[in-house]
């Protein structure tokens, strides 16, 4: 049907999602564009409050009032989801695009058994009879590493540990064989030891099914292991994007440099952990010019006057900066 090598699986073009509150308009996503090919993993990175989760919810059409997608396109196989009706979106949710939430303790309904919550996906998206659905659920639970799966279907979420619950959430997300998984900080709420298990599990699931994934996280260390491409968000804008290898080794944007420097390095001894000074500005009334300039060591007068556009840099990188870093240069 479609030539997957030409059309990207998902293309987000100039997405604007605003929240209209009493205190002013929050421009949570303010002109974000990116593409994901079949089977690719893209990391969506930024500090909390940078609009990462809103991008995920926008793709699924789950932005609730007072939020609204103001402009832009979200193309799945070339079909625009922004203008698609709710009925079409419901077909897509869970079946073509599914989501894994941050906190496994709250993303499952405490009053429904795990089996019932899994079964719901198949009832919505398949014509299987009850027996076949149960069989599919058992197989899926086993494949995410939950033993005695048939028995566990009857259990309730509170009878599982945090890591096990996240496995259940992943099982639910994978159940209908989606083409794209949006994982919103899937390991942030978990113990460090559990984190790598869950990441390994997600990577294996994606490799086996050939699905793509958007991995939303504030943790560059996690994406650098998982992602093929990385998109860095700051204040609702893309500030840098490119291949993981290029971006981690030689970022062009000072913000990305700052994020990388704040990763605790276990191989080299460091005197102290470096942090980006300051904090994310009030997103309700952003000043003219570059949003990062107040925290940027390279900022000059031009940065306050003119907003930098996304331009091609060295290697595969694109960055929105008037004074980008050359390869090897430190901020």
């Amino acid at each position: 049907m479609r030539d997957d090598s030409k059309t990207p699986l998902l293309a987000v073009r100039d997405l604007h999602t605003y929240f209209h509150t009493f205190a002013g308009t929050v421009k949570a996503v303010n002109g974000v564009s990116f593409e994901i090919g079949q089977g690719e993993v893209m990391g969506l990175v930024g500090e909390s409050g940078g609009g990462k989760s809103v991008v995920g919810f926008s793709i699924l059409g789950l932005i609730d009032s007072p939020g609204r997608i103001e402009a832009g396109e979200i193309l799945l196989h070339g079909q625009d989801l922004v203008t698609a009706g709710e009925a079409r979106l419901r077909e897509i949710r869970g079946r073509e695009i599914s989501m894994v939430f941050q906190d496994p303790m709250t993303s499952l309904n405490p009053l429904h058994s795990v089996g019932r919550q899994m079964d719901e996906v198949l009832r919505l998206h398949s014509d299987l009879d009850a027996g076949a659905r149960q069989k599919a659920c058992v197989e899926m639970l086993e494949s995410v590493g939950i033993s005695r799966a048939a028995e566990r279907l009857k259990a309730y979420p509170h009878q599982f540990s945090g890591g096990m619950r996240q496995r259940v959430v992943i099982a639910i997300a994978m159940l209908a064989g989606p083409r794209l998984i949006i994982a919103d900080e899937p390991t942030t709420a978990l113990d460090v030891t559990i984190q790598s298990q869950i990441l390994k599990l997600m990577r294996r699931q994606i490799a086996e099914t050939g699905a793509s994934m958007i991995l939303i996280t504030h943790d560059l260390a996690v994406v650098s292991e998982m992602a093929d491409h990385i998109t860095v968000l700051y204040c609702g804008n893309v500030v840098e994007r490119g291949r993981t290898r290029d971006l981690i080794a030689n970022p062009a944007h000072p913000y990305t440099r700052g994020l990388i420097d704040s990763i605790p390095d276990t191989t080299h001894r460091q005197d102290r952990l470096r942090q980006i000074p300051g904090s994310v500005p009030d997103i309700r009334n952003l000043p003219r010019g570059c949003n990062f300039r107040d925290r940027c060591p390279r900022a000059q007068t031009l940065c306050a006057e003119q907003e930098p556009a996304l331009t091609q840099q060295h290697g595969s990188l694109w960055a929105a900066c008037h004074f980008p870093l050359a390869p090897g240069e430190t901020a």
């Binding site: 599914s98 939430f101 906190d103 993303s107 405490p110 009053l111 719901e120 996906v121 919505l124 309730y156």
Partner: protein, 321 residues
């Protein structure tokens, strides 16, 4: 489970014992009941004899001991006014109260939960604001006054509903029940509506608050991310979670209905145990008041126990401990 039942049973007995002490003490400080049983022109000797007969000449501790032992033996005393066992008097009138309370509760739930769910699911809509203003009015109204207005409008002015009594009753297993006759239903409408308004308003507000709280939960959004419809998410995932706080107040609300039934029964001359209590208070008929309170305390304790059991059936996280 067994250990839980034993523990609950001990708790229930303890509560009833405390209630018996309080009731006994309060009653001992009220007017001298001896004058309720002797004729107006009784001599001092007759009064003293009556007092001895009632055991009122002994110390409080002895009186309480006798009170408690007779309670435990199933002897709840005799009404000074009716000269009948107080328990019999109350049990005769209990079905009338129970059926009015149950009809009122059913009415409250039937109206409050759908409206509360709607108002919680659409907090910004005009209809929701109207519902909420109405419910606030519901808890601001004196119930007895509502009853009076209903009597004036529907009984005195339009004459569509009777203003007093139970109407015809039919017997089922030896209990007289109005709900088995059309006339009985005709009579129960006004009192049940009057009684239900306060509870209706409270259940409505709890349901709405529960729906709004649950609407913010992650699992609701996760369910939508699976592709479920908005209404499926609201009713299949949200409602049960939203109703947990409603279940916890259910017992208290049933208790409130029994308590407010005393007033409603007085207004509508409904021959239940609540009206008997008020009449007994006027007549200082101490044994009836005591038995009423002990019986109602027992009912409350049992209701609370049942609510706890129901609670564990709805919420798998709660286990009986």
């Amino acid at each position: 489970m067994f250990a839980y039942l034993i523990k609950r049973l001990i708790q229930m007995v303890l509560v009833l014992w405390v209630v018996s002490v309080i009731v006994f003490l309060m009653m001992s400080f009220t007017g001298d009941p001896v004058f309720m049983v002797v004729p107006i022109d009784a001599t001092d000797a007759e009064i003293a004899q009556a007092r001895r007969l009632l055991g009122l000449d002994q110390s409080l501790l002895v009186q309480y001991w006798k009170f408690l032992t007779s309670l435990l033996q199933g002897d709840f005393g005799r009404s000074y006014v009716f000269r009948q066992p107080a328990m019999t008097l109350i049990l005769e009138r209990m079905p009338a109260t129970v059926e009015m309370v149950l009809v009122a509760m059913a009415l409250a739930i039937a109206v409050a939960i759908p409206l509360g769910v709607y108002a919680g699911a659409n907090p910004e809509s005009r209809i929701s604001r109207f519902i909420m203003a109405g419910s606030l009015l519901g808890i601001s109204l004196p119930g007895f006054w509502v009853g009076m207005v209903l009597i004036y409008l529907f009984a005195v002015h339009w004459g569509v509903f009777p203003s007093s009594g139970r109407g015809d009753t039919a017997e089922l297993w030896g209990i007289r029940i109005s709900l088995l006759t059309w006339d009985g239903w005709h009579h129960i409408v006004l009192p049940a509506v009057t009684l239900s308004l306060g509870t209706m308003a409270i259940i409505l507000r709890m349901t709405r608050a529960g729906m709004m709280e649950v609407g913010r939960q992650d699992f609701m959004k996760f369910a939508r991310a699976k592709g479920a419809t908005r209404s499926d998410v609201l009713y299949k995932h949200g409602l049960k979670n939203a109703l947990i706080p409603v279940v916890t107040i259910f017992g208290l609300q049933l208790g409130d209905l029994i308590a407010f039934a005393t007033i409603t029964e007085t207004i509508f001359s409904w021959p239940g145990m609540g009206k008997l209590l008020i009449d007994s208070i006027y007549r200082a008929d101490r044994p009836v008041i005591v038995v009423y309170l002990m019986l109602v305390a027992f009912i409350f304790v049992v209701i609370n126990f049942i609510v706890d059991i129901v609670y564990t059936m709805i919420d798998p996280r709660i286990t009986l401990k």
